[in-house]
Amino acid sequence: MLLERIFTTDFFFSVLRITAPILFATLGAVIGEKAGISNIGLEGIMMISALFGSLTAYWTGSWATGVLLALLVGVIVALLMGFFSFNLKTDIILTGVAVNMIGSGGTLFLVKVITQATEGSALASTTSLITKNLQVPAVNIPLLKDIPILGDILSGHSVLTYLAFFLVFITWVLLYKTPLGLNIRSVGENPNAAASVGVSVLRVKYIAIGLSGAMAGLGGAYMSMYYAMGWSLDMVAGRGFIALAAQAMGAGEPFGSMVAALIFGLAQALGIKVSSLGADSNLVSPIPYLVTILGLVVFALVGRSRAKQRHSAAALQAAAAK
């Protein structure tokens, strides 16, 4: 049976593995969007963090330091985006485009420079630098790993994979259970209202975009230090963009967006699986992107009927925005 050959425990294990980096970026998109920031620079931040993470791991010989630095680089790049967008008033989308430019060609430049490219023998990747012992380690979860099927699917993932899913919960707590989250949501929805009670809109926006960058940074670390062994050109391959779509489909909520990210993960895992069974990988690779477009359309159609109910809320917002 074909279905049995596809839907193995390995397959579901790979869904989680593939979803994790998208999920990191999705959470970044969720936090950004809650504060009213469309961060299309997630893609570029992931590339930059992936590079610096893998290099740091190589230099220090510690994967944990690499992950931390990737996170830090993500935050720094995001804050710079914030400076251009909030202070110099560059359109946030254009700021994102610029970060993505640096993320693609700029990183290659840095790789060549940093890996001390001598006379044309420049490295175009850091794949040779990340060895097995520098990879983010996988952990077997006691008890869980002994459960049949479920154990095979859920146990044995990397620390970062578990972190991604755990961060969904953390993001939810942050947004809905902490004063900062309350401020982020109010700044995103009605900055005037927030400002009128003494909340510093600019500060909250910087914090939100910084957190968003931190998430993308972790996603980058995952890409170069677990998903692949080292950085290579265009390795993020639109995951940062897919994250924006996942955010939209999940209506901006952490758990809903996680489900959307899982759908993309599933689509991609399916693609890989099908191609391993003989189908052309180039034919199945576009599936997640097509699913994204389809998902957005379905979401828009559902949103339309819901919009009618929410009409009054929107009107109020519009009035308040004036």
């Binding site: 254009l94 610029a98 060549k112 180039n282 690779s285 576009p286 992107y289 477009i293």
Partner: protein
């Protein structure tokens, strides 16, 4: 602020943006420069300085002049040749951004256009003079049709054209790679590429020096004029611009907003597709792109530099092509990687698009202007009293 001051301000701002980018570039080159082993600090520093100077010379002057000071026609024609695709993606982005449509699909568009043009060049059985023209038209139509997807979804359902166009870029790339690897692959070649184009399909060259400066360059310039005319001299281009400024105003004035939103993106697609087709037939003899070429993103930079005005696109495209060539020369002669161009590009881009960048200077101009006007009025009033 009057028009002269506006222009002055624009000029100063542009120059400042470029200057900052070049400063950062210099710094990066300086950091990249090698140091001789075991050299003292002073010696290392001066070695780095010399290297930086040499690299900068390649970057800034190399594309135009040989080392002996004479003009380098080969390098210059290389620069002009590499403007062809970015003029088209720049024009496409101008049209779409003018309507406030953040469609980022020019990247996938130019690849699809190149591919569609290539298909025509391989398979169509047409007379010599007509074949390339038809191929380019097919390329334009294919990408125009592709842009219908984000455009219609935006106009009818309000789905973000930005995300959809980004997704389409990937879909297009993989599907082309699929076709290239399977049905179209010329198995007799060592690398992945299509069957060769018919010789008649090639767009003739302007100069036969290997620069690949084809008649496509002239076509590109013609389309600069046509697009400028369209945007500033026709009712549709006018509607596109008005929707970009104030959609409610356009609706209230009786324009069909949804239709114009679609038109702007389809037109962007047509331009990008045309650029792809022309680039393919003017430069190559078989299709072998296995990844997105990056012209779409450069096109966005070009449009931003041109202030979304098609008439300025060739200048912006020249500027970018010149820098690109400079970076290539620099990497050949001094070991600074050519991808420095992406960092320069991003920096110029960021400062150019920054509304508040140098806003104090603008404020200064405005205040001075207002004061002058007030003084004038006062003088007039005094005069009338007398």
């Amino acid at each position: 602020m009057n028009k002269k001051q506006s222009m002055l301000f624009g000029l100063v701002r542009g120059a400042a943006a470029i200057l900052i980018a070049l400063l950062v570039t210099t710094l990066l080159i300086f950091i990249c420069a090698d140091t001789p082993d075991g050299a003292s600090f002073g010696a290392a520093f001066s070695a780095k300085l010399t290297q930086t100077g040499g690299a900068l010379r390649q970057l800034l002057i190399g594309p135009a002049f040989r080392s002996n000071g004479s003009i380098s026609t080969k390098n210059l024609s290389d620069v002009l040749a590499s403007m062809i695709p970015t003029i088209f993606t720049g024009l496409a982005t101008c049209v779409m951004f003018s309507a406030n449509q953040f469609n980022l699909g020019a990247e996938g568009g130019i690849m699809l256009g190149a591919f569609a043009g290539a298909l025509g060049a391989i398979y169509l059985d047409l007379p010599a003079g007509i074949l390339p023209v038809v191929c380019v038209l097919i390329a334009a139509a294919a990408v125009g049709a592709m842009m219908l997807i984000p455009a219609v979804l935006k106009a009818k359902l309000g789905v973000s054209e930005m995300v959809n166009s980004l997704m389409l870029n990937y879909v297009v790339m993989y599907l082309i790679k699929y076709l290239l690897n399977t049905h179209l692959a010329d198995k007799s070649k060592g690398q992945v590429q299509s069957y060769p184009f018919q010789a008649d399909a090639a767009i003739p060259q302007l100069i036969d020096n290997g620069s690949k400066l084809s008649w496509g360059f002239i076509v590109a310039l013609v389309f600069v004029v046509l697009t400028t005319l369209f945007m500033y001299r026709t009712r549709w281009g006018y509607a596109i611009r008005m929707i970009g400024i104030n959609q409610d105003f356009a609706m209230y004035s009786g324009m069909k907003v949804g239709g114009i939103v679609i038109l702007s993106q389809v037109l962007g697609g047509v331009l990008a597709g045309m650029g792809g087709g022309i680039e393919m037939l003017g430069r190559y003899t078989a299709f072998s792109w296995s990844a997105l070429p990056g012209y779409g993103w450069t096109g966005i930079t070009v449009a931003i530099l041109a202030g979304n005005n098609p008439a300025f696109v060739p200048f912006a495209a020249f500027f970018m092509a010149y820098l690109d060539k400079g970076c290539n020369l620099m990497s050949t002669y001094s070991g600074v990687p050519a991808q420095l161009i992406d960092i320069i590009q991003a920096l110029i881009f960021l400062f150019f698009a920054a509304e508040q960048f140098l806003s104090r200077y603008r404020q200064h101009l405005v205040v001075r202007n207002t004061q002058e006007e007030l003084a004038q009025k006062a003088a007039q009033a005094e005069g009338s009293v007398k």
